[in-house]
């Protein structure tokens, strides 16, 4: 029995409606996800961008004899509550080091108090009526200004909000990542090469494979406990150090690197291996001269993504003590240090209003680095993409 076109299209209408509905639902969910992303970024940008500017006040500093013992004496008493404590407390030391300055005075732009900063930015603040009046006067006279916040990018953490910066955390992150990379990349790649190119396919290697895959799914805080128990307590690696943190994160990154390397090795076609064996390459020469170079873009991409993941990790580092108050930029791999996510975590717990924008600013810096790393990985993959 045959059907006319009209009969068939009658039936088809329902099917077409169904597929159209499904298409709208999936597009809707994508749109929702995109909306959340936009909201998140808008919120972070609106909160974090002000952190990149900081209030400065122009004032007369008079280096009197009294100022050598009490820095407060160098400033206009009306302005003193508006000026950052960090500016005031360095004056005596400065004078002790340069006695010839005593008796002179000079006009300078100095760092303002975080309350002034918040007031100027229109946020919640704790300035009294008189202080506000004095400040408004200076603003009109052009003696108060918002400038680029070099402190935020140029110094370490501080309990004084206007003096807190992210540099020590950035340096700590870089040093931790160097340790992580140096440990996990060679071990991970060689493990994958052995499993993929040399190991016989038997129960033992299958068991190892399953365990590596499971390792990738272990909650990261457990790696922190492992790092604490083995690296710090057993091997005596200094606590809070980039060495301890890097080794712990290396454990976490290893399965990611192993799995992505194996995938990259597997994507090298066997015809290349046969060609190499055919001209008399030894097993190692096949891997070194032919398979590894072809798999390298994939290996690099996987490793960068693994590193980026480790860079955003906080939980295991809390356990090995990297959530610490670190005002100084790290000097060595065994000194106490902190990392960006840990710094953000610390700032988010500070009660002062000024730390809200520091937290958001820190998140922006971290996100910028992570997004650039991932973009680099994508570019790498696109650039070396090969077809056989």
């Amino acid at each position: 029995m045959s059907h006319t076109f009209d009969e068939i299209s009658q039936q088809l209408k329902r099917r077409h409606r169904k597929s159209a509905r499904l298409k709208w639902i999936s597009m809707g969910s994508l749109g929702l996800a995109g909306l959340f992303l936009i909201l998140f970024f808008a919120d972070m940008l609106s909160k974090g961008l002000p952190a990149f500017q900081q209030a400065y006040i122009q004032t007369e500093i008079s280096y009197t004899e009294e100022a050598e013992s009490d820095g407060r004496q160098a400033f206009d008493q009306e302005l003193l509550p508006l000026i950052s404590r960090t500016v005031v407390r360095v004056i005596p030391m400065e004078l002790r080091n340069n006695p010839e300055m005593i008796g002179t005075s000079e006009a300078q732009w100095v760092l303002a108090n975080s309350e002034v900063d918040q007031y100027l930015k229109g946020h919640r603040h704790r300035l009294s009526e008189e202080e506000q009046a004095a400040l408004d006067e200076r603003v009109e006279a052009g003696q108060v200004d918002l400038r680029f916040n070099s402190t935020f990018f140029g110094s370490g953490d501080s309990k004084i909000a206007e003096n807190a910066g992210i540099l020590s955390a950035v340096v700590g992150t870089v040093m931790t990542m160097i340790v992580t990379l140096l440990i996990s990349f060679p071990i991970g790649v060689m493990t994958a090469v052995y499993l993929e190119e040399f190991a016989p396919d038997n129960r033992i290697t299958q068991a190892i494979e399953i365990n590596i895959n499971n390792l990738a799914a272990i909650p990261s805080i457990l790696f922190g406990l492992l790092g604490l128990a083995i690296f710090i307590n057993f091997f005596g690696v200094p606590r809070s150090s980039p060495l301890a943190g890097g080794m712990t994160l290396a454990l976490m990154t290893l399965p990611v690197i192993i799995i992505s390397t194996r995938t990259a090795l597997r994507s090298v076609p066997d015809s290349i291996r046969h060609a190499a064996f055919g001209v008399g390459c030894s097993n190692w020469q096949v891997v070194r001269d032919h398979v590894l170079p072809l798999a390298m873009p994939g290996i690099m991409t996987g490793s960068i993504i693994g590193l980026a993941q480790a860079m955003g990790e906080t939980a295991p580092l809390i356990i090995v003590g990297m959530v610490a108050f670190i005002p100084d930029v790290g000097a060595s791999f065994t000194n106490a240090a902190t990392v960006m996510p840990a710094q953000i975590f610390t700032w988010s717990g500070e009660p002062e209003q000024a730390f809200v924008e520091k937290t958001a600013g820190g998140i922006l810096v971290l996100l910028t680095i992570l997004i650039s790393l991932n973009a680099f990985a994508v570019v790498l993959r696109k650039k070396f993409e090969r077809r056989w």
Partner: protein
């Protein structure tokens, strides 16, 4: 060509080192001697008591229907089957008086003397020059750059590719056409100066014109090398091969001078296959 045919499954085993012929007389010098070769993939026996003598500076074609074991047999000759974990071989494959399957035999040394060209052209994703120069350099056949250049040119000339690529040696080997890529693979194989070149259906991925070029090339190369080729194409076997072996279900049914085999096959199965009744 001497029409005295080499024969398989001869009841009288000749002395070691003697060619395996009915008349105890060499048609040509012996290259590879195979005796009682069995091979299993896991529990499946793929090759069954093979006996064959392969002669130097000749083209020997292995023909037969799909799955008859001709490619598997070819890979026994340079131990490429070692790469497949489930494979087990028994029996003698003798080259130059040495058992190639002996534990002492280094498969790298063997593959240096027995080169291979594969079904699908598989140049390294490197430059044309590097494709040819890589293996000789690895085997320390060349020490100076000039020597290497010379060897690359010689190999490319022998493979009939020099005139087409001499101006673009630094371009990737994969940028060539299929037929050119296959000749590049041949150049790569002959650059290490092997004795034997195994070809596993070298023209099955190529167009008729490229196929004809490769066939002409095989004819020239046999002056210098022993060529053993697997082919699905009986006309090709008839055109290029001096000797032909017919495989069926893991056994060698007939092995003879190509002209004799195609004009007066000794076995019914061979005749059926050659006349296109199956396969």
């Amino acid at each position: 060509m001497n029409s005295q045919a080499p024969v398989v499954n001869d009841q009288h085993e000749p002395a070691v080192g003697q060619p395996y012929t009915r008349n105890d007389q060499a048609c040509h010098d012996l290259s590879i001697r195979v005796r009682d070769l069995n091979l299993w993939y896991g529990k499946n026996q793929a090759l069954n008591d093979l006996n064959i003598d392969l002669f130097q500076k000749n083209v020997t074609a292995l023909i037969g229907p799909s799955g008859c074991g001709k490619s598997t047999f070819l890979r026994c000759l340079n131990r490429m089957n070692d790469l497949i974990p489930s494979v087990r071989t028994e029996g003698l494959v003798e080259m130059d008086g040495r058992d190639v399957n002996a534990p002492k035999m280094d498969e790298v040394a063997l593959r240096r003397r027995v080169g291979m060209v594969f079904q699908k052209p598989n140049p390294f994703p490197k430059s044309i020059y590097e494709n040819v120069a890589y293996a000789p350099r690895m085997h320390d056949l060349v020490s100076r750059k000039a020597e290497q250049d010379e060897l690359v040119e010689k190999a490319l000339r022998s493979a009939g590719l020099w005139n087409e690529v001499k101006d673009k040696l630094q371009e990737p080997g994969t940028s060539l056409s299929g037929g050119q890529q296959q000749r590049l693979c041949i150049a790569r194989a002959i650059a290490v100066q092997p004795d034997v070149i195994l070809m596993d259906e070298p023209t099955s991925a190529l167009d008729p014109i490229s196929t004809a070029t490769i066939e002409d090339l095989m004819d020239k190369l046999k002056e210098e090398f022993t060529i053993i080729t697997v082919t699905h194409n009986m006309q090709q076997a008839a055109r290029v091969a001096d000797y032909t072996a017919f495989f069926h279900l893991g056994e060698i049914i007939e092995y003879n001078d190509t002209k004799v085999m195609f004009s007066t096959p000794a076995k019914k199965k061979t005749e059926d296959y050659i006349s296109g009744r199956y396969g």
